[in-house]
Amino acid sequence: MEILKISTNDFKSFIDKKIKESKTRTVGVVKKGAHYVFADLNSADELQLDYDVTILPPKKYFQPPKEILLKYVPKKVDSYTAVNRCDPITIIGIHYYDLAAIYLMDRAFSEGERDEHYMKKRENSLLIGIYPTKHFKDRFYRSVTRDQGLKVADIMLVQIGAYYVVEILTPKGKQYLEGAKLQKNDYSVKEIEEAKASIKDDQKIPIPVEMIPDYLARNHTHPAWAYFGEKCFSCGSCVLVCPTCYCFDVREEVELSLAEGQRVRTWDGCMLEDFATVADGHNFRSTRESRFRHRIFRKGKHLPEKYGYFGCVGCGRCADACTADIAGPVKVIKYMEEHK
């Protein structure tokens, strides 16, 4: 890893030049009303790297809310054609926890049967991450993430005053920064690490994350599931804002002319009522209690056992988005601890 620094102004001019001169699509964090979102940048003036959280994670660029998998002429089976939109993209300003989530998504789509629709988009992406510089009331990423975010980032930024310390993690990242007014880094390791950790999490999972899989296994029948299940509206907000939820539905869309059609995949989630319903109407997860438990088990037990990393990255979006104010894993584990 190469460590340099750049003034925030020089970084901005460099990005502005990139947006205007490069043909690659550049997206970054921009303000939308009182919130922040990842969106296409027309100029670096729009870029807001000092933000709390974005409404949706950058997952949407690799697994879009709706994406075409196949095109066809209706009823003509030999017309099936698999398609993808995977032009190069640079994403600027991804918080560490969202990078950790992308690591998990990469594992899910590349291992076993390889999903080229996702993987091509990822291969054509360049990720510029940043350590959070603003509080977010529901965030707890430090208690649930480890090194995984650094495995996917090409460049990491650490803000110290009017400078960014630039950690260059990949050759692709180095190439991207050619022409930037980079300077020799004169901050000490201690100063950099302190800057990375300067924004403390507002929340914390009350037990060590590596103990959670066994903890959940012992608590399959804990009254928490009925307690939270009873309050859940099954609206699916928690799974739709989650950076590590990748479950999807597949649907047909046919033009009115009936001359063209497409098989699309859309976001789906296990908290929605019909997620596990089969053709004869039998629902294998028919109660809100069972769906609520499944979501927490998936993040806290099944994904950690499969990938060696906790399945929740602590972004806090679910806790913030939840209509009933029950979705946050911190709240769930705290309740379980208080009602042993």
Binding site: V250, F275, A279
Partner: protein
């Protein structure tokens, strides 16, 4: 321009997409019950190459895709058979097909009945309703390799006589002397039915005395409600859990372990199943 997000991204063709179906044509179709029909297909450019107990995703462009069990044994190399219940838009469209029409096929997917491991053992098939469809691929395999297996018992139960499947084959199995076949219906409903009436477990006492549970493997395929009672009956007959094999149904939408619909605890049934040793999944809370 991309119609989804408004970006200028262009579209490229994906050659090795796991979601791209191959083309199969319908060779033969025959109604079996008021809702179920038998279909025989052949893939255009390759044999399906399945093992007993696997499934495939069948699709019609513009209508959709759904998982269907394969009912024929692998010995039919060029063709494969399915029995499809008309319950939704895709199966409805498949029921409207005529011989010569085409469907999309992805697969085969999933685990299979461990026919090699079962050699020199007794086999007890416990099948309910359309559970007979995937079980038939293993039953026919065992009958084709009859000398590889010791005693074979087949138990079949369905709701009423109108829902019996493969009636010609059931009649043949009934007559064969090298296997034991029993069947029952839950309700006779005034039909001309002289056979057993009662749920599938009421057939267990008929075979219990002949079966040595230590040398016999039970294979259960049926509706969700059947497993618990069948396993309880097998426990009464002193079957060990590693001698019980189940094929479980879930919503196997993508078939490739991604979409999440078929999850059962941490298991993706489409890849880790549908066939399991009961011993391996009995600790799962969402299995049976």
């Amino acid at each position: 321009m991309c119609e989804n997000c408004g970006c200028q991204s262009s579209e490229e063709i994906v050659k090795n997409s796991i979601y791209l179906p191959g083309v199969a044509s319908l060779l033969k179709k025959q109604p079996m019950t008021p809702f179920d029909s038998f279909f025989e297909f052949a893939l255009k450019d390759r044999p399906l190459g399945h093992l007993p107990g696997q499934f495939a995703e069948i699709s019609i462009p513009g209508i959709g895709e759904c998982p269907i069990s394969i009912s024929s044994p692998p010995s039919e190399e060029k063709t494969f058979q399915m029995v499809i219940r008309n319950v939704g838009s895709v199966t409805n469209a498949i029921h409207a097909l005529k011989p010569g029409d085409s469907v999309g096929i992805r697969g085969p997917f999933g685990t299979s009945f461990p026919m090699n491991n079962l050699k020199d053992k007794n086999l007890l098939f416990i099948t309910g309703g359309i559970g007979l469809v995937p079980a038939r691929s293993a039953i026919l395999y065992a009958l084709e390799h009859r000398d590889d297996y010791k005693n074979i018992w087949i138990l079949f139960g369905c709701k009423d006589p109108s829902q019996r499947l493969f009636t010609n084959e059931l009649a043949k199995w009934e007559k064969r002397e090298d296997i034991t076949f029993h069947e029952s219906v839950d309700r006779a409903d005034g039909a001309d039915w002289k056979g057993n009436v009662g749920v599938i477990t009421t057939l267990f006492p008929k075979v219990q005395k002949e079966i040595n549970p230590r040398d016999t493997y039970a294979i259960i395929v049926g509706p969700p409600v059947m497993y618990k009672f069948a396993i309880m009956g097998l426990h009464d007959m002193e079957f060990a859990d590693d001698h019980i094999i189940v094929s479980l149904e879930r919503r196997m939408k993508c078939g490739v372990g991604k979409c999440g619909h078929c999850q059962m605890d941490n298991i993706y049934v489409c890849q880790d199943g549908p066939v399991f040793y009961y011993d391996d999944i009995k600790h799962l809370k969402e299995a049976i």
